[in-house]
Symmetry: C2
Subunit: 139 residues, 2 copies
DNA sequence: TAATGTTTTTATAATGATTACAAAAATATG
DNA sequence: CATATTTTTGTAATCATTATAAAAACATTA
């Protein structure tokens, strides 16, 4: 997705495509690394002149409200952000602290009986050790 | 579960059943309300003389490490604790902020292909509006 | 039971992520 | 171009959690 497409995508979802917003969304879409605010900040500060961490918080909160990003709560002390809002799961490695996606089909998620409940978000995540780190430990 | 049973349960899981630990676990088991540290503190401060919030943090971290409690990360700004370590899901209501359990069979959870990964924890949670709050809003 | 060593708890301070707020800058509108 | 609105910024405030060292509780041994 180039900046044009990002702009159109934001606009379609009710987010005015201002420069910094487009750049932050670009970052999320291209890196796909489920960054924390700090990670975004330290990467983009070089690219965007005079970027403030508060702006990143503002923009991400707006993205989540508008439905163009997900806030992932896997560890209690950090929120990670994901521009992929389609159904999928997350795995967090305790060793390298990375978060990776895995595919789940929507119909494979449990469908609990919650009569009268309105369900807005579904989250499925795993914690453990990724194959890369598991290999290193063994060796 | 009375205090005797709680003590035995803790002991079996490698946690020395000291007084405050037993009371905190009793609280978790009897209330089943997925409390935050603050909720536990304000409820137990009346019952346990000279209880410190740091102790609750210590004890809960120990419980989680020992596998007798789960730390739930649903909202980024709070950790909730659950003494029910069996497979089940959680629903968080955006209106009343309460967290409730729902049944899931272990075999109904998605089983992603993650070759070589070690999976320690599985979490499935939903966010939305519970039936009670949904009714109130409609009326 | 008394003496001693270890573990646990406490109180305070420190940390770290997030939000509140008001001023400055950017953007849109007439 | 002038004005009104929205966004961003920088600083300070907030809130949950952890670090730390002293005090208290507990277990062990004589």
């Amino acid at each position: 997705m180039d900046q044009q497409q990002i702009s159109a995508y934001l606009l379609k979802n009710g987010v005015r495509p201002l420069q910094k917003r487009v750049k932050i969304m670009s970052y999320l879409v291209s890196k796909r690394n489920h960054p924390t605010v700090d990670m975004i900040y330290s990467d983009l500060i070089h690219e965007i002149n005079g970027l403030s961490k508060t702006t990143i918080y503002n923009v991400l909160n707006l993205f989540v409200q508008s439905g163009v990003a997900l806030a992932l709560n896997i560890e209690g002390n950090e929120i990670r952000y994901d521009a992929d809002t389609s159904t999928h799961g997350h795995f967090k490695c305790k060793v390298c602290t990375g978060v990776i996606d895995f595919r789940i089909k929507k119909e494979d998620l449990p469908n609990p009986m919650l009569e009268g409940f309105r369900i807005d978000e579904q989250h499925f995540y795993l914690k453990g050790v990724c194959s890369f780190c598991a290999n290193k430990i063994e060796a």
